[in-house]
């Protein structure tokens, strides 16, 4: 197997979240509530004026645009997540001048498709597996019982549910959220494309490929490559397939 992984240049990441949005855009038809909250079945193909006006435009209490209603139609699972660490401060010194020691560093993580994935070990139903062509960790939602053990086991919250209260649903509730997660855009990789997040990365901070190739490619550029980011991505035994170039200042 030619294990694939991600490369993340923290020195370029602007925290723009385009990777996350591109992921949601590409994988919208793989989200957990697709059959519950899709609009293509009704909202735009119905005859004009067939929508009840108030249900679309109005919140019955505030009489404002029904944002809750609009919020039904997108992917709630964050297969890719961007976080920001803020350090230091900006304070006022004497004479109303500023002393700024603030700094920030962004981190974008999806699933690291670990060599020894904790989620696979934690799943009582055996729905999560490591496929063999590129080492992607993929799941079979059909057998998922929404127990959340995979999410507890994963250090990076890669297993996702469309409703964070997934554990409150009855097992036979038709709306019970099943776990979904990053599948490395396997279907795109197979066709010679890049994962959606990498193809979209606004500032070219993300890359993906066979992990050994990535190590060589970026070492050849003179980068110091790490596998952890102190305070943001600690060393763990699952052997995640992600490489970093740390933010320098």
């Amino acid at each position: 197997m030619n294990q694939w992984g991600f490369f993340f240049n923290q020195d370029r990441c602007l925290g723009c979240n385009t990777c996350m949005m591109a992921c949601k855009n590409w994988n919208d038809d793989k989200r957990g509530d697709l059959y519950v909250n899709q609009y293509d079945a009704k909202d735009y193909s119905v005859a004009v004026n067939a929508n009840e006006r108030e249900s679309i435009y109005l919140d019955p209490v505030t009489k404002a645009t029904n944002y809750t209603n609009l919020g039904r139609y997108h992917m709630k699972e964050d297969w890719r997540r961007v976080s920001t660490k803020e350090t230091g401060s900006t304070v006022l010194a004497g004479d109303y001048t500023f002393v700024a020691t603030i700094n920030t560093a962004h981190l974008t993580v999806s699933c690291n498709h670990c060599d020894e994935p904790a989620c696979v070990a934690a799943c009582p139903m055996g729905c999560i597996s490591k496929e063999q062509s590129m080492g992607a960790v993929i799941t079979n939602p059909e057998a998922c019982i929404s127990c959340g053990k995979c999410r507890q086991a994963c250090p990076w919250d890669a297993p996702q549910y469309y409703d964070v209260n997934f554990a409150n649903y009855n097992i036979d509730d038709p709306a019970r959220p099943r776990m979904t997660k990053c599948n490395f855009c396997k279907e795109r990789i197979e066709e010679g494309l890049k994962p959606a997040c990498v193809a979209a990365c606004w500032n070219r901070a993300l890359d993906a490929g066979p992990i050994e190739d990535l190590k060589k490619k970026y070492a050849d550029k003179g980068y110091i490559i790490t596998q952890t980011i102190p305070g943001q991505f600690e060393e763990l035994s699952t052997k995640p397939n992600i490489l970093f170039k740390l933010k320098e200042s």
Partner: protein, 1037 residues
């Protein structure tokens, strides 16, 4: 994270089923599967049964990025951007061709990758709140449940009746009492083209770069272009001033990417902003400067390397003061470029004189067809005593700087203004000697910087270091610096003066005409690679705009004042003068029909029965939302849009536009060298129409009612057959591919030939011209060497003193006389930072209209940080004491750009709004002082409005300032109201009234509409400047 409760979910589900059943529409979905909710398999092959259509985003973010629309079964199912290409090494593609990672030369077009806004485009286009058919308000304005569906025929006729009634009033008023803007001008154009006397009220402004346009007009000439974008790679130091490329492009797609490569190329950069942005954090590098070489003073001659951090926080609206202080440091340290200032600039030195080499005329039509209106006459010095009036060329005119009005005198006057103890001190030592300054000189010097430091928040040592670094980035070897300018400060009351100061700063250091330098200003006319042609739609109200040339121009910021009070910010006398000048002397138009002088003083000067605008969401883009709401209730309002925006909610009639998915179109941004074809991807979804069709139908209906004998022309094509579409598309391409070509040929590549339409389509409908780094366009190239190379301003040189502005002085408040007077405040105490408004002074801005200074200088905003102190030296902080409400506000607001919006666009798109909740961002120390914790719901309020939003605590905001990101949609609280003070009556007195609390976080609840420059020439930008506010856990009294 977005949360759905179980109860909501079940409710949603039952709703889904109910509608699906009653609608009886099937689209292949197996409804039974709803009872077996299982996410689709993770292991599926790529769906190749899709058609790719190439397109581009075209919202007002300033960028144009490439889209690939994946279309299946008549629906856009996915969207990817230009980075979505095969991997290197696959399908025979080499890494060299595709890997941009180390591409430093930019000798080929970089991919224009969309950001998160583009990636939410599908969700936006298919939103359920798309406007689907014409709506007419039958209930109370603002109550959305009062809208009912109307047929197109009925809606068009309804609006045409109102417009026709307004047109009929022209016979008594002399103008049509209708307010509109350039987006809706086609609906009125037919009348104007046929009848030069046709006048209506044209909301006029350059929302984005109005402040820059104002400054450039006389400083360097409006059509001057700055150095090409990649020329910054030839710089030794780059100062990124108020530019956050991680959120907004300021008309340069890929600007963030360019700055990234700049950092990786090892060129030092410093970010100067009011908030800690991702550009400051990630892209800026910080730098160092050896100050010892430039002390010019024996006592401090020890060599010292001063580190300049990557982020220099500067208070909102004080940027101009910092630029003034930097000029002062450069001058006092003898680092200014005397040769350049003497020979290619005008007005720097006292006693400067020049024989104009202007390539434009003093007034009348310029060589390129633009107009320079001259507001009066200018009598040149010397024996001839010529008077210039409309139409006279300025070339050859003698111009000199009046005593006391040179820039040199201005910056030296700073020394007289800081403390009383040193009043009367005269600078002598440093200027000419370059050393041996006396102790009192040094003391004075540091007092000047001390004041600037307290005002801006930048420590004295860093002001000095930054100034020296900018002037001498390579130390003894000199070097060249570049200023990467953003747009924020230009959208303030004192925006034009800031931009002018940056132009001056660059000229003082002698960087203006150098490779790697430039004059420091970005403008819409200098997109992407600074090669586009001159921009026709510049911010001059007297431009040759065929659709609005005879209109009465009113500033967009403050349009509501016309509806509410019949006057805007200007005095009535000034308004009458301005309107008469605008409407006379052009193409046979005359102001004779206007009898404004005879309007009774207690009657409104201007009336507005109908208001019409399109896709502007104007409530949210214009300052003072509460005034917009009240104005909307007074005039008949017509709106074009594709969503039920907060502005549309207050309309009488809403026309629904179609989307770019549903038709063939092109997009570029002004005359920029990038052009995209947006392919039609899907069929029209609703009973909507193209905006141009709507305007045509409206013109036709009005003509049928009035029988003016006007030919309304041919209808734009709607739903054309394929053959017709191709003809139109080719013809459109022929027009749109041309504007940049001559400039590109002249400046970059003499062999350039614009691609044919077929070649264009082979490139997926994209045209892109680039300027390689090694062929930089230097905006003012040859300017220094060639005496006959003149600019298009009045003197042909870079103006530190502007004769043009001398003739159109503003109205200012004279605290000595206690009245508003016209002119420049030379006869009052020369207070650099403007007279401090005290409790006894009126609650009005210092300047009401007109140009505020003929000499480049910093001026304060009316509610600026200076007003937060009880003393002019800024040592006793009291907070801003509003003379209107009597309240004290201790914080300033600012309105940064949001990541998830392009101005107001996308705020109704849940997929990104969920990730970027609207909040007030405040410093931890300010929050702690008010007992506010992260996530608390708080009230942000001032005299103009009140909003209730969550607090986000972060040190990325400077203490004393809070940030409410611009563009969030207004949403009124169902029950809560707050007191506001609005001057909505003709008396100008601010009335205390109760208005709803906004829970959407719309920034313009707080902003001040009471500012403008001169609508006669150039107008202000969007009003998002800083001012006082307070944040509290409890609702204000």
């Amino acid at each position: 994270m977005f949360k759905i409760s179980r109860r909501d979910l079940l409710k949603t589900m039952s709703g889904t089923l109910a509608v699906a059943t009653t609608a009886g529409c099937g689209s292949g979905t197996n409804y039974e599967s709803m009872y077996e909710v299982v996410a689709p398999s993770q292991d599926i092959p790529l769906d190749k049964d899709v058609t790719i259509k190439f397109s581009s985003g075209s919202y007002n973010c300033g960028s144009r990025c490439g889209h690939k629309l994946h279309v299946k079964n008549g629906r856009v199912v996915k969207l990817t951007s230009e980075g979505d290409i095969p991997r290197a090494g696959v399908n025979g593609v080499s890494a060299d061709e595709l890997d941009e990672y180390d591409d430093l030369t930019f000798d080929r077009p970089a991919q224009r990758r969309g950001c998160l806004r583009c990636y939410s485009y599908i969700k936006q286009m298919y939103q359920p709140d798309r406007l689907k058919y014409p709506l007419i308000q039958t209930g109370t304005k603002g109550d959305i449940s009062g809208f009912v569906r109307a047929s197109w025929d009925y809606a068009i006729d309804y609006v045409a009746t109102k417009i026709a009634a307004a047109v009929k009033r022209r016979t008594t008023l002399g103008y049509v009492p209708l307010i509109t803007d350039f987006f809706t001008y086609p609906s009125l154009a037919y009348s104007q083209l046929k009848d030069p006397q046709f006048k209506y009220l044209n909301m006029h402004s350059n929302d984005s770069t109005g402040g820059t346009a104002s400054a450039k007009f006389e400083a360097v000439g409006i059509t001057s272009i700055n150095n090409s974008r990649l020329d910054k790679f030839n710089s030794d130091f780059v100062l990124i001033w108020a530019q956050d490329s991680s959120r907004t492009t300021f008309w340069q797609t890929n600007n963030h990417w360019t700055l990234t490569k700049l950092k990786e190329a090892g060129i030092d950069t410093v970010s100067l902003t009011s908030t800690f942005t991702d550009v400051a954090s990630v892209l800026a590098t910080g730098t160092t400067i050896d100050m010892g070489e430039y002390l010019g003073n024996g006592a401090e001659a020890a060599r010292e390397t001063v580190p300049i951090p990557k982020w220099l926080p500067c208070r909102p609206t004080t940027d101009g003061a910092l630029a003034a202080a930097m000029c002062y440091v450069i001058y006092k340290r003898n680092l200014h470029d005397v040769d350049f200032l003497r020979n290619k600039c005008f007005g720097f030195f006292a006693g400067d004189s020049v024989i104009s080499r202007s390539t434009g005329n003093a007034s009348g039509t310029m060589i390129d067809g633009k107009q320079f209106a001259f507001p009066g006459s200018y009598t040149e010095r010397g024996g001839e005593g010529r008077t210039f009036s409309k139409g006279d060329p300025f070339f050859g005119a003698y111009v000199d700087v009046p005593a006391g009005k040179s820039f040199e005198e201005y910056i030296l006057s700073l020394e007289n203004l800081t403390t009383d103890a040193n009043a009367g001190w005269v600078s002598s030592g440093w200027v000419s000697t370059g050393g041996s300054a006396a102790d009192d000189d040094r003391s004075k010097y540091y007092e000047v910087l001390g004041y600037a430091s307290r005002l801006t928040g930048v420590p004295v040592r860093l002001i000095e270091a930054l100034a020296v670094k900018y002037a001498r980035p390579k130390g003894d070897a000199g070097g060249v610096s570049y200023i990467e300018q953003g747009g924020g400060p230009n959208r303030a009351f004192n925006g034009p003066e800031w931009v002018w100061m940056v132009i001056c700063l660059s000229a003082v250091a002698g960087h203006s005409d150098k490779k790697g330098g430039g004059y420091g200003v970005s403008y819409m006319g200098q997109l992407e690679d600074s090669i586009c042609g001159p921009v026709e739609s510049l911010g001059s109200a007297i431009q040759m705009n065929p659709y609005g040339k005879n209109s009465i121009f009113i500033p967009r910021t403050g349009y509501h004042n016309i509806i509410l009070r019949g006057e805007d910010q200007r005095s009535r006398k000034r308004m009458i003068e301005d309107i008469k000048f605008q409407t006379s002397g052009k193409d046979g138009a005359s102001s004779e029909l206007l009898n404004l002088e005879s309007v009774a003083s207690d009657a409104p000067l201007l009336e507005a029965d109908v208001m019409m605008y399109s896709t502007k969401n104007i409530f949210l883009t214009v300052a003072n939302i509460n005034k917009s709401i009240l104005a909307a209730k007074k005039a008949f309002m017509v709106v074009h849009d594709i969503f039920m925006t907060p502005s549309a909610q207050y309309a009488d009639v809403i026309f629904p536009d179609d989307s770019n998915f549903e038709k063939e179109s092109f997009t570029n941004f002004y005359e920029g060298p990038v052009l995209y074809q947006r392919s039609k991807a899907i069929e029209r979804m609703y009973d909507t129409k193209d905006k141009n069709i709507i305007n045509y139908l409206l013109c036709k209906a009005v003509e049928e009612k009035l029988r003016l004998g006007v030919d309304v022309g041919n209808p734009p094509i709607d739903n054309p057959d394929a053959a017709t579409q191709e003809i139109i598309t080719k013809a459109t391409y022929a027009v749109m591919s041309q504007p940049s070509a001559p400039v590109y040929k002249a400046k970059v590549n003499p062999d350039y030939v614009a691609p044919t339409y077929e070649e264009f389509m082979k490139n997926n409908g994209k045209l892109s011209m680039i300027v390689p780094q090694d062929r930089s366009v230097i905006g003012l190239n040859d300017f220094r060497a060639n005496i006959n190379t003149g600019l298009e301003n009045s003197t042909g040189r870079i103006n530190f003193y502007a004769p043009f502005w001398e003739l159109k002085a503003g109205e200012y408040y004279n605290p000595v006389s206690g009245k508003y007077e016209s002119g420049y405040p030379d006869n009052i105490t020369p207070d650099l930072y403007g007279p401090v408004i005290t409790s006894s002074a009126p609650a009005k801005p210092v300047y009401r209209s007109g140009w505020r200074t003929p000499t480049a200088r910093y001026i304060p905003v009316p509610e600026g940080f200076e007003r937060f102190f009880s003393d002019p030296d800024l040592k006793n902080f009291t907070g801003y004491k509003s003379p209107i409400s009597g309240k004290t506000y201790t914080l300033m607001y600012m309105t940064n750009k949001a990541r998830n919006r392009a101005h107001t666009v996308f705020d109704n798109v849940a997929v990104i709004k969920d990730k970027f909740k609207q909040c007030v961002k405040m410093n931890k120390t300010d929050a702690a002082a008010r007992g506010i914790n992260d996530g608390d719901m708080v009230y942000v309020h001032n005299d103009r409005g009140c909003m209730k939003i969550p607090a986000l605590i972060s040190h990325s905001v400077i203490p004393g300032t809070v940030s409410v990101e611009h563009g969030a949609w207004y949403r009124k609280h169902p029950t809560e109201t707050a007191s506001v003070w609005l001057d909505i009556n003709k008396t100008g007195v601010h009335e205390k009234i109760e208005m709803p609390v906004d829970i959407g976080g719309a920034g313009n609840m707080l902003t001040d509409d009471n500012f403008t420059l001169e609508p006669l020439f150039v107008d202000q930008a969007l009003a998002i400047h800083g001012g006082p506010c307070e944040v509290s856990v409890n609702k204000p009294d």
